[in-house]
């Protein structure tokens, strides 16, 4: 595509849609087969070929298909194909740079499939790195803009820190267990015994990779800046797929994490902290895409929290199943749909009125009806209002964290953070909606609706966002499909829809989170739509300082930049000084000695024969004295 794109219509778009669609179709076939006959994956389907043999060690390349992989396939296939279709409209006026875009997007979709299907950690890592590369290429798509180039570098470097952690974890695992293949590692009988302390270290380091890739605290700073790329890139990579790779990694590593409960505590804590932190930052953001980016970080935090909480419960034996696993992955599925929807919707808005600033928008709801409606659906879903998808999964997440609280008190605190996050989520999402779509147009004009090639994907994603949660209610729904017990990932008990409904709505905590969501929306309405609560007092004084702090992202980026500039750069300068003065000093010193020595020794060559003759005489005399007098005196004969 990079080579032929210029000659194909729309810069290679249709080829990209073809390949992405084709892959999507294959995924759909696989998913269909799995759904119609679940026994196909009673044990994970593994197909491998030996790729490399190195002295008794075989490296295989293959596919590992289980329920988790099926869910990920669904996400990548649906969102990937829709985003490429949407790109035709969004990237239309880019002209000659389009082939590069479509090539990079197609590469990304390809390696993402590879990542979710990989059968051992080595290939997962390879595809992991490739995904990071594609992210760099795509964020920096408009590389002539210095902000974009800097953001791309930042994304790559920050995720690199995570990648190194992952690599070290994998190396430790490999040296301890001798293999990186999923089937061997996850089977307790086949795996060699590993010292628990080192095991915890290894799994914690592997989670470190997830921290980087999924933008968790403290490696979350790259995601807001990654918004410099096109909105389609944000939708695909930074909402639906690449950042989900970290969650996927944690879920995939579950059999190992279950053995190390302490690592799971770290997982859950970081998830909870990130969720709350990012939600607070989203409240003060003024760029439409930044708000959605913070929302992504926050929701990813919730997923990780769920995985951690659920795993902990299972690991310490307090429960026979991990509700958090199901909740986290279910939320992953739903979130992919409505977050991609939000990003594509934001892209539609930006495409229409060419600005990202929320305070320059307004009144778009009248003219951009489809965009406004679908974004409303997405917002409601994200806020957790039934019967939309976000409600079902978010409540499962919070429930699983709360039930873990009885095992370890920390989870009550994390549950509270999660609840507050939900409140903030509803608030900032509707702040965005009201600022953009209601009221009077502040941009001077109200824009017009985007072309169908862009709105149709929005509609599809909107409907998916609305209904995808309902798969919880099916008898063989998601909770049965993705049931993680002591025996590993398998099928759980079937529950009739009516029973599940009553179970959910009878639970007071769920009603509490619905109430929190409604409260958040109501507050946003009061402040931004009607102006009943004035915004001015929040902008000045003590509260104003809080707002500034939130806007500056807790000065964390400033902090990281300072660490980089003073810390790393200072270290680099010190090492450079060392290299220049000490090492080069030694090398140059040797040369200097040789040159000076030579210069003094050459004076011996006077060209006078008699001088040479004199040297011979002195030498001979010296030798004679040495041989006959000195050495015998020292005992040598």
């Amino acid at each position: 595509m990079a080579f032929t794109g210029k000659r194909t219509p729309e810069g290679g778009a249709y080829l990209a849609i073809g390949t992405a669609g084709g892959a999507g179709l294959l995924s759909a076939l696989v998913i269909w087969e799995v759904l119609t006959d679940p026994s196909v994956i009673a044990t994970p389907v593994i197909q491998e070929i030996t790729w490399l043999r190195v002295g008794g060690f075989d490296l295989t390349f293959g596919i590992y298909l289980d329920q988790l992989a099926v869910v990920m396939l669904a996400v990548v296939a649906i969102v990937g194909t829709l985003v490429v279709i949407y790109s035709v409209g969004y990237m239309h006026q880019e002209g000659p740079t389009r082939p590069r875009y479509y090539a990079e997007i197609s590469l990304f979709i390809g390696v993402m499939y590879g990542l979710v299907l990989a059968s051992n950690y080595l290939f997962l890592y390879i595809f992991w790195e490739l995904v990071g590369l594609c992210s760099y290429l795509l964020i920096g798509f408009w590389y002539e803009r210095p902000a974009a180039a800097a953001a791309a570098k930042r994304a790559f470097i920050v995720t690199r820190v995570g990648d190194i952690s992952l690599l070290v974890g994998l190396i430790i695992l490999f040296t301890q267990a001798g293999t990186l293949s999923f089937s061997t590692l996850f089977d307790e009988a086949a795996r060699p015994p590993i010292d628990p302390g080192i095991f915890t270290l290894a799994t914690a380091l592997i989670f470190g990779g997830a921290i980087g890739k999924s933008a968790q605290f403290p490696l979350h700073e790259w995601l807001p800046d990654a918004m410099e790329g096109p909105s389609t890139v944000s939708a695909l990579i930074h909402a639906a797929t690449m950042v989900k790779a970290g969650i996927y990694l944690v879920a995939r590593t579950y059999p190992l994490l279950i053995e190390t409960p302490d690592a799971l505590l770290i997982v859950a804590a970081i998830g909870g902290i990130t969720a709350f932190l990012a939600a607070t930052e989203a409240v003060a953001a003024n760029d439409i895409k930044r708000v959605i980016a913070f929302s992504t970080i926050s929701q990813l935090g919730l997923m990780i929290l769920a995985l951690g909480a659920g795993g902990y419960v299972l690991a310490v034996g307090a429960s026979g199943e991990s509700e958090g696993y199901t909740a986290g992955i279910f939320h992953l599925l739903n979130h992919a749909f409505f977050k991609a929807l939000m990003f594509l919707g934001a892209g539609s808005v930006i495409h229409a009125i060419h600005t990202n600033d929320l305070h320059a928008m307004g009144g778009l709801g009248r003219t951009m009806r489809i965009t406004a409606t679908t974004m409303m659906l997405g917002g409601l879903s994200l806020a957790g209002i039934p019967p939309l998808s976000g409600f079902w999964s978010k409540d499962e997440v919070l429930l699983s964290v709360y039930s873990a609280g009885s095992v370890h008190g920390l989870f009550y605190l994390l549950w509270l953070l999660g609840l507050l996050t939900s409140l903030l989520t509803a608030f900032y999402m509707f702040r965005l909606w009201f600022l953009a779509f209601s009221g009077k147009p502040r941009a001077g004009h109200a824009g017009k609706e985007s072309p169908p090639v862009m709105t149709v994907p929005l509609l599809i994603l909107g409907s998916l966002a609305a209904i995808s949660g309902l798969i919880l209610l099916l008898p063989n729904g998601i909770a049965t499909f993705l049931h993680y017990s002591e025996l590993g990932l398998g099928t759980g008990p079937t529950v009739a829809p009516f029973d599940r409904l009553t179970e959910i709505f009878a639970e007071p905590l769920n009603l509490l989170s619905i109430g929190v969501g409604v409260l958040g929306i109501g507050l946003a309405y009061a402040v931004y739509a009607r102006g009943w609560i004035a915004r001015a007092p929040f902008a000045t004084g003590g509260l104003g300082r809080i707002q500034t702090m939130l806007r500056e992202r807790y000065y964390l980026s400033w902090f990281y930049d300072a660490v980089g500039t003073y810390g790393m750069y200072g270290l680099a300068r010190a090492v450079d000084w060392f290299d220049l003065h000490v090492i080069d000093g030694v090398v140059n010193g040797v040369a200097w000695v040789s040159v000076r020595g030579g210069r003094s020794l050459r004076r011996l060559q006077t060209g006078l024969v008699q001088a040479y003759a004199g040297m011979i005489v002195i030498g001979v005399c010296g030798l004679l004295i040495l041989l006959f007098f000195l050495l015998p005196a020292l005992g040598w004969s």
Binding site: R603, Q605, T606, G607, V609, Q610, A613, V617
Partner: protein
């Protein structure tokens, strides 16, 4: 007879006289003459050992005297060659003062 050591001492003195001449003369011809003195010192050494052979080794031995004859012949040949070299040097430099001839220097 006088003890052998006196002959050896004379030979040594002559040798160092010749060496001093080689090392310090400015004129190349004088250096040649000094080399002749050194050779003669060696000859004295040879002949002395030959004369004292019955006392030192038991039988008379004329080897030393034969060596001395060889040495004289060789000395003559060497002087001839030396003079030829100095002729060339003179043609090249216009002088045979040894402290003026130092082309092969740093």
């Amino acid at each position: 007879m006088i003890p052998l050591e006196y002959f050896l001492g004379l030979s040594a003195l002559l040798f160092f006289a010749g060496a001093y001449g080689v090392l310090t003369s400015r004129n190349a011809i004088v250096v040649l003459m000094a080399i002749e003195i050194m050779l003669n010192a060696a000859n004295i050494n040879f002949v002395a050992f030959s004369a004292y052979a019955p006392q030192l080794f038991g039988n008379p031995d004329a080897t030393g005297q034969v060596f001395a004859l060889f040495s004289i012949a060789i000395a003559a040949a060497e002087v001839a060659v030396g003079l030829a070299i100095f002729l060339s040097v003179f043609r090249r430099h216009g002088t045979i003062e040894l402290d003026k001839i130092s082309l092969l220097r740093w």
